[in-house]
């Protein structure tokens, strides 16, 4: 179960790869060179398909299939859009790519652009990542100066450029159609689908939109071959996945691991150093917060898409938040409910109103004014939200609430019966990044 750095090339190199010359010395741009010299567009897309790479932003949709949806002939120009709006609670894997290995992302965006016949790509980065945006600004300038972006890349006939676009603080802009709205200079509110972005995305043009980690995986796939990539991991969960782990663990950080090779227990105890003396595992939100929370029964589950789906949760963005038995599941659930209430864009009534009511009911349980019927009321509210909204925010935002009440029901019952949920002492030991 060793770590394997395919996306995190900078860790393999042992230093930040923020200078183009360093990135090239570490094998960078070999993937793009091969794509331009040896592949036509169809062959590039076929390589993505054969790699079985799945989207790393949270939904896990097969990347090659998504690229294949882009129409071959279109009166409008095609675009690549990179979703760098990393805002899912507990998720900080893309931050490290942009900060320490930015060229691998630029190379991936360029390869994707070549495959779909685009002349421009956009990287939409969350406004809070201004530091990372400046690293990317420098990387883009270096790539342009060296002919890795611009007209006739690397001596080929392919021309491509990348625009970095800064968001201004809105979780919802990580939803792909809300991101496109924001990039078009509008309020970042999701669109009704269909049409999907592949058909009518940015400026109503065919648009391939993928997460940072997904796109940064393309260079090694093209360089080493789709079969090589597909041989890592399992049939349905190929390759490696970066897990961000945080919360009550001793060594929070990013760990790139081979799919299926590592269990949750190994991630928590071996990589992240387990817990303080006298503390034990209580709960984990493995795929960011928009998933079903799990308890100790999940510890021996291998970390991959299908194994996590089998136990009723999901890999999501792989932002794994872990809580030990000093924490309060009731207060944690309330905190997440507050997050979704704050981030609801307000377009769909069930989400705008429903997330507010979920928060209020959980707040009164925490404050000692809860009633036993509240647990059923939460269930009814969740039912009235589910499937009645345009995007995944509330549809998945109800998951950590509903699952907490199912899996840890006795904690909520105790808070209602005993007049509230006392605030626990937080872990004040200083974190050491992994």
């Amino acid at each position: 179960m060793p770590q394997r750095n395919i996306v995190y090339r900078h860790r393999e190199a042992g230093r930040p790869l923020t200078d183009l010359s360093d990135y090239r010395r570490a094998g960078g741009y070999e993937g793009l060179r091969r794509a331009l010299a040896e592949m036509d567009r169809d062959e590039a897309i076929y390589a993505f398909v054969r790699s079985a790479l799945r989207g790393r932003g949270g939904a896990g949709f097969p990347m090659g299939r998504k690229a294949g949806f882009i129409p071959k002939e279109s009166a409008l120009p095609a675009y690549v859009v990179c979703n760098a709006d990393e805002s899912e609670p507990g998720t900080f894997k893309d931050r490290e790519i942009m900060e320490l290995n930015p060229f691998q992302l630029l190379e991936g965006v360029t390869i994707a652009g070549y495959a779909i016949g685009a002349a421009r790509g956009y990287i939409y980065i969350r406004g809070e990542y201004e530091h990372q945006a400046r690293v990317l600004d420098s990387a883009i300038a270096q790539a342009r100066a060296a002919g890795m972006l611009g007209t006739g890349l690397m001596g080929s006939r392919f021309s491509f450029d990348i625009t970095l676009y800064r968001g201004a603080g809105a979780y919802i802009c990580g939803e792909e159609t809300a991101l496109l709205e924001s990039l078009e200079g509008k309020r970042g509110q999701p669109r009704l689908k269909p049409p999907f972005p592949a058909v009518a995305g940015l400026y109503a043009s065919p648009t391939l939109i993928n997460n940072v980690e997904t796109l940064a995986t393309l260079p090694p796939i093209v360089e080493n071959g789709a079969d090589w990539y597909a041989s890592i991991g399992t049939e349905k969960s190929t390759g490696t996945k970066v897990f961000s782990i945080s919360g009550h663990v001793m060594r929070p950080g990013n760990y790139e691991i081979v799919m299926h090779d590592t269990t949750l227990r190994e991630l928590v105890y071996d990589y992240a150093g387990g817990f303080r003396d006298g503390r034990d595992f209580m709960a984990a939100w493995i795929g960011g917060s928009s998933v079903n929370v799990v308890g100790e029964e999940a510890l021996d589950t291998p970390l991959d898409y299908e194994s996590l789906a089998e136990i009723g949760t999901s890999l999501g963005s792989a932002g794994c938040i872990v809580m030990d038995d000093s924490g309060s599941i009731v207060r944690s659930t309330l905190r997440l409910a507050s997050f979704y209430r704050h981030e609801s864009c307000g377009k769909c009534t069930p989400c705008r109103e429903g997330t507010l009511w979920l928060e209020r009911i959980l707040q009164r349980i925490v404050d000692g004014h809860g009633r036993m019927e509240d647990l059923e009321e939460i269930e009814r509210l969740a039912d009235r939200i589910e499937g009645r909204v345009l995007c995944a925010l509330a549809d998945t935002g109800i998951l950590p609430v509903r699952s907490a009440i199912t899996r840890f029901r006795e904690h909520f019952v105790r808070a209602i019966e005993e007049g509230g949920d006392p605030r626990p002492e937080p872990m004040m030991e200083v974190a050491v990044g992994g």
């Binding site: 201004a168 940015l202 944690s332 992994g434």
Partner: protein
């Protein structure tokens, strides 16, 4: 900020977008760097620079957390309060900063106008919890209560940055 200054900022990137409405966010973010928030005059100047109505520009600006339509302190401290940070003491950190600055529990602007303290949702530095961000500087963490005291002193004694990127 004047429409000309905003135009000078966005003109070099105008050709990168099929529709110039996309320039609204870059224009708003830049216009905000002068005062740290956007006045009606700023919104009108942005509207003129991107050739859209002031009402439309305001409707966009009002959507985003990091575009401020009301005055803030000279520097804005955003304390992440989402789950990973909560587990590692973000509520204590926020409470401490507010108490030191004489602010209500969930934040506000100090009497001397030097600092605004506000809650923020996940800043993506969960490995360095509890974390906080000053304006749009690189997020800091883990921030102990002692480090928070030093930060307040640092911000009060530092010269105001030339541009306030938020």
């Amino acid at each position: 900020m004047s429409p000309d200054e905003i135009r000078a900022h966005i003109d070099p990137i105008r050709h990168e977008f099929a529709e110039q409405r996309s320039l609204i966010l870059p224009a708003l973010k830049f216009a905000q760097t002068e005062k740290g928030h956007l006045t009606q005059e700023d919104l009108a100047a942005v509207a003129e620079a991107v050739e859209l109505s002031t009402a439309y520009v305001e409707s966009v600006a009002s959507f985003y957390d990091r575009l401020y339509l009301r005055p803030t302190g000279a520097r804005v401290i955003s304390v992440c309060v989402t789950l990973s940070c909560m587990l590692r003491g973000s509520d204590e950190l926020l409470g401490h900063l507010c108490e030191r600055e004489g602010l209500p529990h969930h934040g506000g602007t100090s009497e001397d106008g030097a600092l605004t303290v506000q809650e923020a949702q996940c800043l993506g530095y969960c490995d360095r919890a509890p974390c906080l961000q000053v304006d749009a500087e690189e997020t800091r963490g883990p921030v102990t209560l002692e480090a928070a005291d030093e930060l307040l002193e640092e911000l009060r004694s530092a010269p105001r940055p030339e541009r306030l990127w938020r």
